[in-house]
């Protein structure tokens, strides 16, 4: 590995640090929402349409709820939807990716054409249709997002499996009479986990974004205030037309942006570190064995 390559990866890993710090901040906000929020976001705590004041730093909404509290609690809702949706997408994607990469002859064409279809479907219209049809419940939204985002991770994981299955130890496991399920679970799955983790983080970020879009369009769960829901209400109450956009629209919008940015930076950095296609063996080995083999390789 040459110097330029190292510099490049340091830069990306540096960006990853910033992303991780942002991510930590956002996670803490979600975790400690009850202590951080000055008011209950579902309670009327003041007159409606208040401008920012000491008591309500971001003012109040149309029915007198505290907007700051709304978006602090919204962190929880948005992230929860993002995590669960990404979990569904990744469980599905990892399973399909592994099975598809392993059974190349029969299942691979089937699953990959399916993935292609999912990938090229006009995304938002279908999402709107499904969300509207299934009803605006949080579980439905999670399910819909999960079911429509597994294809990307599945493809990435499949390509990793394609190289892993030719590894000596996987071939040896076959020769030793290992059952297919055991080979996939014990030998291949651990090999794709790092890649799956990076994919998961990126999936969370896209799920957060998708949820916001759906909620903004009025297809979110009205009983759970996510950032998208806050935006949706703000838009419906004409916040874009008054000065209220400054404290009603901008803060949740910025939060969505920063969250997606944080996840993306972390995800790219992780991918850079764990994806053998994108980088050399050295860092991977550091991660895997705490340095032993990397040292040895460096000495060679």
């Amino acid at each position: 590995m040459n110097a330029a390559c190292i510099f490049q990866s340091m830069k990306i890993i540096g960006a990853g640090r910033i992303g991780a710090a942002l991510l930590l901040l956002i996670l803490c906000t979600a975790l400690f929402a009850p202590w951080l929020a000055p008011h209950d976001p579902y309670e009327r705590v003041g007159p409606p349409f208040q401008k920012p004041s000491a008591q309500h730093p971001l003012g109040t909404n149309d029915i007198g709820q505290d907007i700051l509290s709304e978006i602090i609690w919204g962190t929880r809702v948005s992230l929860a939807i993002g995590f669960f949706a990404a979990a569904i997408a990744l469980l599905l994607g990892t399973f399909i990716g592994i099975v598809s990469g392993y059974y190349r002859r029969w299942l691979d064409p089937l699953f990959m054409r399916l993935a292609d279809i999912v990938l090229v479907i006009p995304f938002l219209p279908l999402m709107i249709l499904l969300a509207a049809y299934l009803g605006p419940r949080m579980s439905n939204i999670i399910l819909v997002i999960g079911l429509l985002t597994w294809a990307g991770p599945a493809r990435v994981i499949r390509s990793q499996v394609l190289s892993l299955r030719e590894y000596g130890y996987v071939q040896a496991a076959r020769a030793l009479g290992g059952a297919d399920a055991r080979i996939m679970f014990r030998h291949i799955l651990p090999g794709v986990l790092p890649v799956a983790l990076a994919q998961f983080i990126r999936a969370v970020s896209s799920a957060v974004l998708i949820e916001s879009s759906l909620a903004f369009l009025g297809l979110g769960d009205p009983t759970a205030k996510s950032w998208g829901m806050v935006l949706s209400y703000a838009q419906a109450r004409g916040a874009f037309l008054t000065g209220a956009w400054l404290w009603w629209i901008l803060p949740p919008g910025l939060l969505i942006t920063f969250t997606v940015l944080a996840f993306a930076l972390t995800g790219y950095a992780l991918e850079e570190v764990v994806n053998p296609r994108l980088r050399g063996e050295a860092i991977k080995n550091v991660l895997r064995k705490g340095g032993g083999q990397a040292d040895r390789q460096a000495r060679k």
Partner: protein, 319 residues
């Protein structure tokens, strides 16, 4: 009855299918190989890189599906086995790969690696533990090594783990696919001696694949020489150095450097050029473009394997 008999085994890799046409021609990795391996015998298989040795090994161990031909193991056709039958068969034919490092899962400890085949065939936990220790002793490892990861071992030690794992199920046939090629020269002899010792002790049969003639003639009684997917000569190992019948065999033997630097060997038949593209093998004898003795017939007609002496067969028009 031979332990292993291969008849006209063929493996072609298809080119990629592209709008109804094959963009590339078929790669004829193994193109009609027939040979037999007796019980307790070590059959060497030599040839340069890319001649199809490893593909042949993978066909015999059923890691790859044949295109045509038959493989008989213990008198039974095995190339069509699937499912349970295949699993039962795998117990009897085991393989050791060239790269000792990559054939061990880096996340598993040596003990677990050796134990794996025993788990696959449902052997009880106590028996497994006992057997693992027995196997480790058999290949000359310390009992404490069971708790180490593959990267903590040297190449030779890793190959011992591979051997122990392959022997766990007491196979009748061990296919050694270049088992010592990735090892330091100083370690090679140790591993070769271990293989020889194990063969005597456990009455194993080896299909020993290598491009290292010294390693092959150290173990094998008979040697099959392969060129571009076909066997050109089968010869007793003791005669290999003296009088190969096929020009390719002689070229291989002469390509081995002499250990004495003062001895200026005139390389009579050093091969020129690269072996041809296996997707477009030459007409007639496949060796003719590089053969120093080629004549007209060699470009036209395919030679067949025929007896050229005691226990010797060769595929050459000139013999």
């Amino acid at each position: 009855m031979s332990l292993l008999e291969v008849r006209n085994l063929v493996k072609h890799y298809e080119g990629s299918f592209y709008f109804g046409k094959y963009r590339r021609a078929k790669v004829r990795a193994v193109d009609g190989i027939s040979l037999t391996l007796e019980r307790g015998e070590v059959l060497g298989l030599v040839g340069e890189s890319g001649c199809g040795k490893s593909t042949f090994a993978r066909l015999v161990t059923r890691l790859e599906e044949k295109t045509a031909g038959e493989i008989y193991f213990d008198g039974q056709e095995i190339s069509g086995c699937t499912g349970k039958k295949l699993r039962r068969l795998r117990r009897h034919i085991q393989i050791i790969f060239q790269d000792s490092a990559s054939s061990l899962n880096p996340r598993w400890k040596a003990g677990a690696i050796i134990e794996e085949p025993l788990v696959n065939y449902g052997i009880s936990r106590e028996k497994r533990r006992e057997r693992v220790l027995e196997l480790m002793d058999l290949v000359g490892m310390e009992p404490g090594d069971a708790d180490k990861y593959p990267h903590e071992f040297s190449g030779g030690q890793r190959q011992r783990i591979n051997i122990a794992r392959a022997l766990a199920l007491e196979p009748a046939l061990l296919v050694c696919d270049e088992p010592v090629s990735s090892l330091d020269v100083s370690i090679r002899a140790q591993v070769l001696n271990l293989l020889r010792e194990l063969k005597e002790r456990l009455s194993l049969s080896y299909l020993f694949i290598s491009h290292d003639l010294a390693a092959v003639s150290c173990l094998a009684a008979r040697v099959a020489v392969m060129y571009l997917g076909q066997i050109v000569e089968i010869i007793p190992a003791s005669q290999l150095h003296l009088q190969g019948s096929h020009p390719y065999t002689r070229a291989l033997v002469e390509a081995v450097p002499a250990p004495d630097p003062r001895q200026k060997t005139v390389l009579k038949a050093t091969l020129k050029g690269e072996p041809p593209d296996p997707s477009r093998p030459p007409r007639g004898c496949r060796f003719h473009p590089r053969c120093p003795e080629a004549t007209g017939i060699c470009c036209e007609e395919k030679p067949v394997l025929k007896e050229v002496g005691k226990e010797r067969t060769a595929a050459c028009h000139l013999r």
